[in-house]
């Protein structure tokens, strides 16, 4: 069991962007959708296509993300989509308020009782469910490529250059450096405990007993890390950490493409706000072509 970063160096436009640009652009799109509370498919669909294009440009192999996508699909389709379809709630109240043709009823019953009711599935609820899933997937595919495309060694520098203090940025940098060491400690501890007869694959007993049986694995690693911490503190104090502003080994410089992407992200945010608050575009609506499919 080796700790391996998902990050791989790929010669793509996405990876040539400054990490700060990537994070700020992602937040711009998320805020463009959420702050003006956009539910109009005419705005969401172009943003989805943009996010999808950027995701495909990142050139992440399917085998790397297959498992993650299965989890996301379950969450989006079964928890969010199905709930939207049944209740129509979570978005604007117009979904449940508007008069919309009923497609069919889903009977819901409380188990072991006769209490139940028929939930009407309307065209509006179906469209809302599709819109909600598209909205979520848009934001997900912006966030998903981050660990695959940003060098882990750049997080600390990126946060520093985005305005975080030296201490916060150094904590982040140090955490990324500690990680392989603790993962190795975990593997060594696991092997040592197995040699003593500890069987991780056979955690028997009730729930509490099973969690408690993880202690032989967790305690040695955590306690060793607290001892390591004291040594690191001594070393850092001896080098006068925190007495003056730090310099950083890796430098980040915005390029022309970064300014363009940042301007693009900020423009999208402004346009969404102006559309919603200036022109009243962005509220939930069911397109006629969709309604006509069912009537």
């Amino acid at each position: 069991m080796l700790v391996t970063w998902k990050y791989r160096l790929r010669d793509t436009f996405i990876q040539r962007l400054d990490p700060r640009t990537r994070l700020i652009f992602m937040l711009s799109i998320i805020f463009a959708i959420t702050i003006p509370d956009i539910w109009d498919y005419r705005v969401i669909l172009p943003l989805f296509l943009l996010a999808l294009t950027l995701y495909l440009m990142a050139q992440i192999a399917w085998k790397d993300v297959k498992r993650i996508w299965m989890f996301i699909a379950f969450l989006v389709f079964f928890i969010v989509g199905l709930n939207g379809l049944l209740s129509g709630r979570g978005g604007p109240s117009s979904v449940t308020d508007m008069v919309s043709p009923i497609l069919f009823y889903i009977p819901i019953k409380i188990p072991f009782t006769d209490i139940g009711w028929d939930v009407p599935i309307t065209v509006a609820k179906l469209w809302f469910s599709l819109t909600q899933m598209t909205r979520m997937i848009t934001m997900t595919i912006l966030a998903l490529p981050i660990p695959y495309t940003i060098d882990p060694n750049m997080y600390g520098t990126a946060f520093k250059r985005m305005g975080a203090s030296d201490n916060v940025s150094f904590t982040m940098d140090l955490a990324f450096r500690f990680l392989p060491t603790f993962a190795r400690d975990l593997v060594i501890t696991m092997d040592a405990q197995r040699a003593r007869g500890y069987e991780m694959d056979k955690l028997n007993g009730g729930l509490a007993a099973r969690i408690r049986k993880l202690a032989p694995l967790i305690i040695p690693v955590v306690m060793q890390s607290t001892v390591t911490g004291e040594e690191v503190i001594d070393a850092m104090d001896l080098r006068a950490f925190g007495t003056a502003p730090r310099t950083w080994l890796k430098e980040l410089h915005y390029q022309r493409r970064d300014y363009l992407m940042l301007a693009f992200g900020v423009t999208i945010f402004i346009v969404c706000c102006v559309l919603k608050w200036g022109f009243g575009i962005g509220d939930f609506l069911v397109p006629d072509f969709f309604t006509n499919l069912f009537v």
Partner: protein, 182 residues
């Protein structure tokens, strides 16, 4: 065991914030590989007990950093992406749990352990509520889905882990700290 100045942010907090984050990341990743069987969509993350322990032992700022960075690390290692609201939720979980630091006199004492567990549970409630409620606004979920689908499983799973593992970690830490003499 600690200097009891709750909001100090010096070398000690930087180092233990980083260690807490790295451990939180490693254990989150490890339990993704070996998931603990549970009911429904309740998952048990022993990493949360480690986060609450670091917060209790080293303070709220360590908890905040370890939670925020650790969750980011765990997601990065597992390839989930970067979800700022869940990372911030984990940070808040550590921040609130860390408020107990100044009142802990003896990591072996039953009263102090109960206090730490109590603050830990409060931290879980605040952190997971923040993440679930922001998910409502970001993802456009309704209150039912946000509270029952997201908050409740996260709260139950994390609370069970903290109630069971935090006392063990605290007692072990008391022994290590007394041997080390600081």
């Amino acid at each position: 065991m600690n200097d009891k100045s709750t909001w100090e942010f010096g070398t000690r907090q930087v180092v233990y914030g980083a260690i807490g984050a790295a451990l939180y990341g490693v254990f989150s990743w490890a339990t993704n590989i070996f998931p603990l069987p549970a009911a429904g969509n309740v998952t048990f993350r022993p990493a949360v007990a480690v986060l609450i322990f670091f917060a209790s032992a080293y303070g709220p700022l360590v908890g905040l950093l370890a939670g925020f960075i650790g969750n980011t690390l765990g997601d990065a290692l597992s390839g989930w992406g970067f979800y700022w609201n869940w990372s911030l939720g984990s940070g808040l979980m550590g921040l609130v749990a860390g408020l107990v630091m100044a009142s802990i006199k003896d990591f072996r004492a039953r009263g102090d352990i109960i206090k730490a567990v109590g603050y830990g549970i409060a931290g879980i409630a605040v952190g997971m509520l923040f993440a679930s409620v922001t998910e409502k606004f970001i993802g456009g979920l309704d209150w039912n889905t946000a509270l029952i689908g997201y908050f409740t499983p996260a709260f139950i799973g994390n609370t069970v882990v903290v109630v069971i593992l935090l006392p063990v970690l605290m007692i072990a830490f008391a022994a290590v700290a007394s041997r080390r003499g600081r």
